[in-house]
């Protein structure tokens, strides 16, 4: 990338961020603001998934991490009166430990590909079933609400991490989302990325060149699990309501995978584009067909997932970047041929 392209990109990023920050000032309804917040929050979660997913570690278990983040924080607040400022780190830690516990045997015994997806799929269902089974504490399928302390008269509680204003939440979640993008980029630019690329293609060769295979896989798994749990915790605080279906189980795990594949997992903003697609699709189908066709969105997701995997495996944004790169290089010199 030459200097002027790089400068243009910086300007573009700055303008994009300014537009996002100005968004709540434009006087949109709470509904529109809610959609924007949801896109950014899920964009963060999807980014977290892609930190490991992009290296072929396809986890269908992220519902479990999401659930631990959301339920952990809410339960600690409701039952122990523990502020989310402590509850969130504890839940994130618990999720990271679970990531280690599930990852260690998988990676030691080389459970990869479909088998890894199946193991993690079981994990997410176990998490959902546990939440349902422990209904006396968790509220079961009906879900649970963090004990509210804010009201129209007293709209802000930092201690309880509850805010009545959607605008406040918008800015908080923009921050969370940006941190997610920075983590993604840090991984992308680290030597760990090369190690993971190598492992995902030729595990034995990577090991014989000095790469600690298990340790490296665990590192990305723990980062991904922790990010997802954090997203779940913030989701609970924002929505003020969680239930096993929305933060755990197969449906949400599949939604994460679909969104990331649709958006593109190999580019920084791909998962966020995936969030735009899934959220707008979900809302569009809901508004267009109402509740008459319950489950239609999931059907459409499934169909689109198949189409994406066949025709656009790098996702919408990945494809766009590819096309632009091809255009950019056309007038230039032909790419050098490798010698023998």
């Amino acid at each position: 990338m030459d200097a002027s392209t790089s400068r243009n990109l910086t300007i573009l990023k700055g303008a994009g961020l300014a537009a996002i920050l100005a968004f709540p000032l434009l006087g949109f309804s709470d509904y529109v603001l809610h959609i924007a917040i949801s896109i950014l929050l899920w964009g963060f979660v999807y980014t977290g998934w892609s930190v490991m997913g992009r290296f072929g570690l396809v986890s269908l278990g992220h519902g479990a991490f999401l659930g631990i983040g959301a339920y952990g924080t809410t339960m600690l607040w409701n039952l122990a009166g523990l502020t989310p400022w402590i509850g969130i780190p504890l839940s994130v830690l618990a999720s990271a430990i679970l990531g280690l516990l599930i990852g260690l045997p998988c990676f030691r015994f080389r459970i990869t590909g479909h088998y890894f997806a199946l193991v993690t799929l079981a994990l997410t269902e176990v998490a959902r079933l546990l939440i349902v089974a422990l209904r006396d504490t968790t509220g079961g399928s009906l879900g649970v609400t963090p004990v509210g302390v804010v009201s129209p008269e007293d709209p802000v509680s930092l201690y309880a991490l509850q805010f009545a204003s959607k605008t406040v939440w918008f800015y908080i979640i923009v921050g969370v989302w940006l941190v997610g993008l920075l983590i993604w980029r840090a991984v992308d630019r680290s030597m760990m990325r090369y190690a993971m690329e190598a492992i995902s293609q030729e595990e034995d060769a990577a090991a014989s060149l000095g790469v600690h295979v298990t340790r490296t896989k665990l590192t990305v798994t723990v980062i991904s699990a922790a990010m997802t749990a954090f997203g779940g915790a913030v989701y609970g605080q924002y929505q003020q309501y969680i239930n096993p279906e929305t933060v755990s189980g197969i449906a949400i795990s599949l939604q994460i995978v679909f969104a990331v594949i649709a958006g593109g997992m190999f580019v920084q903003l791909g998962p966020t584009v995936g969030a735009v697609i899934t959220l707008l699709l979900g809302e569009g189908l809901r508004l267009g067909f109402g509740h008459e066709f319950h489950g239609l969105d999931v059907t459409v997701y499934g169909l689109m997932l198949v189409l994406f995997i066949i025709y656009m495996p790098r996702g919408v944004l990945g494809k766009a970047v590819e096309v632009m790169a091809a255009r950019g290089s056309r007038p230039g010199t032909p790419s050098p041929q490798p010698g023998e």
């Binding site: 030597m191 293609q201 030729e202 090991a207 014989s208 060149l209 295979v213 050098p336 490798p338 023998e340």
Partner: protein, 265 residues
């Protein structure tokens, strides 16, 4: 010169089958040892035991006096043993330079800087006559190029002992000669000790200092290339395959050395 590698009573059993049966040999620092034998003779198993890809059933492998039998491939690499694969295993999603740079970085157990890793990678690519251009991808490489990439990655880890696995399978005669010269150059310029596993005896005999010949998991001959090539047991094992060409190559080596010596003067 000290002893680089000491193999004693090394045994590997797979169930009831003994692939390697109490073999032992020494390898001097700076030596090129040819480990040869027909298919199924146990040479690849021996190779994998030294490289850490398989744990031995019994016996010991000592690298400069330190027991390494049973260590993982990663640990073995960090101790200074690098290997190539018989069937090249490039990381196709990375460029050639990235392939080699990651080997340099992780081979040094992440103790060097990124720029140092890239520098070592360029050096290894130059040594193996591959392009150092950062944009060149693996896809354009042919069989010979992929073999060189295997070698470049191994060299980038800066090994003291290089294990080269059947480097010449799938190459034409000219490429084989080049590859053999390259190993010879690597030893001369970098002082790297080499074990070269090969079942094509021909071109190997021109370059190696000493040969260990395996058959059915046992060592049937050890010695100078000329000696083992005329050893009746070795001839019998290779009879009808390339015993004749082995002897021609050894003769060629003596002639080549005389000519090379004259040219150097």
């Amino acid at each position: 010169m000290g002893t680089m590698l000491e193999v004693r009573d090394l045994t590997k059993r797979f169930g009831g089958f003994t692939a390697v049966d109490r073999i032992g040999f020494d390898l001097a620092e700076g030596e090129i040892l040819g480990l040869i034998g027909p298919n199924g003779s146990g040479k690849s198993t021996t190779f994998n035991l030294i490289a850490g890809a398989l744990p031995p059933s019994a016996g010991s492998i000592k690298l400069e006096g330190r027991e390494i039998g049973g260590l993982s491939p990663t640990e073995v690499c960090h101790l200074g043993i690098a290997r190539t694969y018989q069937i090249p295993r490039p990381f196709r999603k990375l460029t050639i330079l990235e392939n080699v740079a990651l080997a340099a970085y992780f081979g040094a157990n992440r103790l060097i800087s990124r720029s140092e890793a890239w520098k070592r990678a360029e050096d290894a690519l130059t040594l193996t006559q591959l392009p150092t251009d950062p944009s060149v991808r693996v896809d354009g490489l042919g069989a010979a190029g992929l073999k060189k990439l295997e070698l470049a990655r191994a060299l980038a880890t800066q090994p003291r002992l290089l294990l080269a696995d059947e480097s010449l399978g799938g190459l034409d005669e000219q490429e084989m000669d080049q590859a053999a010269d390259m190993l010879s150059d690597i030893r001369r310029e970098r002082g790297i000790t080499i074990i070269w596993v090969e079942h094509i005896m021909g071109v190997l005999m021109r370059v190696v200092d000493r040969c260990v010949v395996l058959d059915h998991g046992e060592i049937i001959a050890t010695g100078l290339p000329q000696e083992v090539a005329h050893d009746p047991k070795v001839v019998e094992v290779y009879l009808g395959t390339d015993a004749e060409s082995v002897q021609t190559q050894v003769a060629g080596r003596s002639a080549g050395e005389a000519a090379g010596g004259a040219a150097a003067c």
